[in-house]
Amino acid sequence: MSLIKITIDNQTIEVEPGTTILQAARMIGPGVTPPAMCYYSTLETSGGYCRTCLVKVSKGSEKDPRPMPKLVASCRTPVMDGMEVQNYTSEEVKDVRKAVTEFLLINHPIDCPICDQAGECHLQDLSYDRGKSQSRYDYEKRTFDEIDIGPTIKLNMNRCILCYRCVKVADQLTPQRVHGVMNRGWDSEISTYIEGAVNNNFSGNMIDVCPVGALTDRTFRFKSRVWFLKPYDAHRDCPDCAGKAVIWKFGNDIYRVTGRKDQWGEVAEWICNTCRFEKKDLSDWIEEGPRKIDRHSVISQNHYLKGTQFVASPEALPAKELK
């Protein structure tokens, strides 16, 4: 199949037909890649909901060069040959992204100091980069009670941004399950039908896909801040999954086990609940070596490289340097 050409923020790449704008941007590098809060590379039909990845298509294609009338969700829009896209080079896109960030935060409790996700939370990264320091929303936030989804997973709906990723995990792991969100609009909530339906050895992956601290690991709850732990790639011979995981150690103790996330914070290979929740002894694992921590995440503490620094002039910085 012949490759097609797409230009994002003045950088051109050739990709296979069917590639989305977001995927093409990721191939170019972080300097041109829009943030994605709901798309997940390994979950089918994910994306389109959060609207943080909106970009401007300034030229539709070689055949039909008209610009698209509205901003489009880059995660769900396939590229066309000759398409030109503006991400960080468009003031409109930056402006709308700020607004979407604000929308995602108006009902968020911002309880990072007591949230296990802090440090590796995508909403934290997003708001650090693009949020305002003050909220214009001065009303009561919506609140829900915490729910235990089985003995290992905690659901804190207050923090949820309704990205539908956990719903897709549940959907794609158990074919019978259809409902994951109850009620509508402002009152939507992730339903505990998941609890009944994902009685499945892979349900723990919901924790990994959750971009915020809405779904957390009960076996790791309040044990430590993630940045005090040292992540190591490790594997074990597991009959259920590939057994490739990351173990998070403090001294010689394993505090938690997660899947291996790629550069974009997305897990390529699911791990089973046995590996995740029950194998917390060093003798369970064969260590491969320490994992690199990505600098544009809040987890890297004082070494944090603020996203807007590298997006300020994406042309000036070659994509490679940012990896």
Partner: protein, 453 residues
Amino acid sequence: MSRKLLLAKDHVPGIRSYDVYRANGGYASVEKALKTMSPEAVTEEVKKSGLRGRGGAGFPTGMKWSFLAKPEGVPRYLVCNADESEPGTFKDRYLMERIPHLLVEGMITSSFALGANTSFIYIRGEYFYVSRILEQAIAEAYANGWLGKNILGSGYDLDLYVQVGAGAYICGEETALLESLEGKRGNPRIKPPFPAVEGLYRCPTVVNNVETIAAVVPIVNDGGEAYAAIGIGRSTGTKLISASGNINKPGVYEIELGLPVEEFLFSDEYCGGIANGKRLKACVPGGSSVPILPEYLVCKTATGDDRLMTYESLSDGGFATGSMLGSGGFIVYDENQCVVRNTWNFSRFYRHESCGQCSPCREGTGWMETVLRRLEKGMGNLDDIDLLVGVAKKIEGNTICPLGDAAAWPVAAAIRHFRHEFEYHVLHAEKVKDPKHGHKEPIMPVKPAPVVA
């Protein structure tokens, strides 16, 4: 007296029943189409008629039909959108309740044109009793050989089903409707793919409004050109208008497109003027989703031309000084009504009806409602007004489906034309604690002074 095509036989006693309907020329379009025309020829007539979708967007129906993908060996579907949930719109109910066979007839003729062998009428849950009427009509049509196998010996088969929704406005959005029809949660789909390519059960599907499908009957009977001869420019044919609010004669009227708004509003044939001898304050001409117009822009456009009941004239001036024909929900407000309260009321609706998939709509509709509630109760401040404008602007155009726009437009338009009334709610907090404050001290729109060049 203007021409009526859909409601021409409305006054005939018993027109709801098959026998009376048939005796009054019913099902002639099916006979004509199946016996003397090819499906393409029917589509051609619809194209010629210039008929535009009556569900709100006004997309040319003939063009929509010709976009329908026709891959071999894959069924195609026609789905009638009878979800009618837009506040201020109640024309489809009237039509289905009074002349159900007209819709059934339109469904058969249209399905034939599209090559659909299974078709559905998706009707909102609150219209349960109407669904019974439709089912009765469908049973009569089966009994008389208009539905089922080999209709009129033409070799064409069609099954028609009624599906009752669970009462959600969002299920009127065509892709949410299809999800709901498939038995799933009614969340709009992310487009593309469009229903014409991948619709119901991932097969090519056309979704049309009740009135659109009913209009196919006179188009096939009299020819597309005869239909196109009615109306002005690209607004052809007749349109059902649901008139409500402070008028003498609320109800459903069939008008020829191109009728002046002034005549519609004040003549005794239609609305009969403002009730109780009051003054006109404002009008929402196309259902709750379209911008509100202040009194001085209702009968005249900003340039001083007569405003007509057409797609073009009602949107003359863009959103700055115009509105939209939308679904034809014509809501009239007299001098005593409070625009802030009305805007809050609409925003409550959108907050409740947002499906919640995308963040700008889910959070934004709720946010706007909260701010508007505060303003309505006299507890807001002046900054809130600009905040509302800002939030509305950030919802608009950034969502999956047009519900976000539909929620943002009325708020933006109300502030555009009635800012002084929002300010009044801040400055006279004591007065507005009484929801009927407009009866004591009417607030009329202020026409901006003309710009002198």
